[in-house]
């Protein structure tokens, strides 16, 4: 187990290093001079040159990369081009928003899809199963932002349960903040829930056809015992992997759903920074998301390894 963990950690660090290099390289190669963007086309060549010098744009690529990389280790992402503050101060307060939103969505996915998946597998072919699967099929194909629009219309404008666009900051009123995030979280979670239910059901049904299941049945286990003691242990594996992927994907789909509900999270900063060519901010957000995704996938791998020793080899 120790060896497996070590191997995973080394891979994690290497992947992150590669990602950071790619991200940094992309923004260095990309056309568009940040100094020119800041000063406008009217600027004199001397002023441009002076600004480039002070922004550190004239240093060699590898030196800038190493400086950036070592800064990141102490959460220093450099200074924003368009605002005169550090990137950390700019995006730091937004991280909790996206974290809470993703965690809420993830909780919804787990709490809804696992019981539903088990239920449909247990009652396969029944009326309830057919209804759930039909709704499921449909829910899978609706993009999150459309679900968001629908929820805004029903709960915001018709039932008036929340005020669309009336975001409450978490530092002012935490309960109100959580309340406002419920609908966005549902919008993000719904399509993923549907996929998760389908996957879990398919896995349980597949496991139940295997030899060990038949043996367990013949030894007098009841269906319920079978399900929770034998089948679920094996069937939940791919679902855990999938939920890990979902967690990673949620951060990305959060960017769009944020716009639907007018939440000033990382997505909004990212879009603003992209259009202002504020590369340090974009780099920081992309790295943050990449870090989360790589870590989540490593953690799911490790959970997998703990639950199924065969994977560790």
């Amino acid at each position: 187990m120790g060896k497996y963990l070590l191997k995973k950690t080394v891979m994690l660090v290497l992947t992150l290093l590669a990602v950071s290099f790619v991200v940094f390289a992309i923004f260095t190669i990309l056309p568009g001079d940040p100094a020119l963007h800041k000063l406008g086309t009217q600027a004199t060549p001397e002023r441009l040159e002076a600004l480039r010098e002070s922004m550190g744009l004239n240093e060699p690529f590898m030196l800038r990369y190493l400086k950036w990389l070592s800064g990141m280790l102490v959460f220093d992402f450099g200074n924003s081009y368009s605002y005169s503050g550090s990137v950390t101060a700019l995006i730091g307060p937004k991280i909790p928003i996206n974290l809470v939103l993703s965690v809420m969505a993830l909780v919804i996915v787990c709490c809804v899809s696992i019981p539903m998946g088990i239920y449909t597998a247990k009652h396969v072919g029944g009326k309830a199963d057919k209804c759930i699967m039909a709704v499921n099929q449909f829910a899978m194909s609706v993009p999150p932002f459309l679900v968001g629009l629908f929820l805004t219309f029903v709960f915001g404008l018709t039932l008036k349960l929340f005020v669309p666009g009336g975001y409450v900051d978490y530092r002012e009123n935490f309960i109100g903040f959580i309340g406002y995030l419920i609908c966005p979280a549902i919008a993000i979670a719904l399509p993923k829930c549907a996929m998760c239910i389908k996957l879990l059901k398919a896995n349980i049904l597949e496991e139940s056809k295997k030899d060990y299941a038949r043996t367990a049945y013949s030894r007098g286990n009841s269906t319920t015992q079978m399900l929770y003691k034998h089948l679920l242990k094996n069937a939940i594996m791919p679902t855990i992997t999938f939920i890990g992927m979902v967690a990673a994907d949620m951060i990305a789909s959060g960017i769009i759903v944020e716009q639907v509900f007018g939440i000033p999270g990382l997505g909004r900063s990212l879009l603003a920074a992209i259009s202002a060519r504020d590369y340090p901010v974009v780099e920081a957000i992309v790295m943050l998301i990449a870090f989360l995704i790589v870590t989540i996938s490593a953690v799911t791998d490790v959970i997998h390894g703990i639950m199924d020793p065969r994977v560790r080899m």
Partner: protein
Amino acid sequence: MKKKTGKFNLILGCILLGGIGLFALSGLLFMPYDPEGMDIANKLAAPSLAHPFGCDNFGRDIFSRVQSGLLTTLGIGISSVALGTVLGTLLGALMGYYAGLIDEGLMRIMDVLFAIPSILLALIFLSVFDSSMGNVILALGFSIVPSFAKMMRQEFRKQREMEYVKVAKLFGASDARILFVHILPNVMPTFINCILISFNNAVLAEAGMSYLGIGVQPPKASLGRMLSEAQGYLTSAPFYTIFPGIIMILMLFGFCLLSEKGSEKNA
């Protein structure tokens, strides 16, 4: 029982996509109004016989805009999936068939690409280069490649060990011939399924990007952008959201049903 629902899904999916496709194609032959022609007198006019889907905030006919938006979306989807399929299959075939160093190296690169969500990559790409239709296609096409290559790699890896591949090798067939003449037809179900899933993702990503305002630029119609504009008029003109929304859902639903069919066949 299972077979019957599978067939039902396939038929329903075909009908939905066929209907949507016909609706889009009919826009090539006949559009009731100019999708970019404004008419302030009809601003946010409710659906009527003259304007079956109503009019938007500039008095443009929503029916015509949906038609032309669908054409754009399908055009972008088809071209980006074509690009992604060619590159993804090539990479997947190389990684799966040759294994060893090529495979290891490319897989690590894929891991890195997987760490940055494809929609983010596309966003950055489009914000730096202008969002012309060609660039949207390039961005979406490349974002399809990693997952496509990974799926195809597994299939090629499986087939590599099969008898018929060894026999073909004995007969002196070149690697390229083995890969694309012998193996590819044998992995057709996965291949088609990959294409359908990619198409679904491409359309979804296109909608998301144009909703964010990055993607096809106005006044050109696009379903995602129409929806983001319509959001401001949810109470005063709900039809503005409803019609483009329904068309988009039906199209994605159709793809979903078809790819479902493919994956069942696979199992």
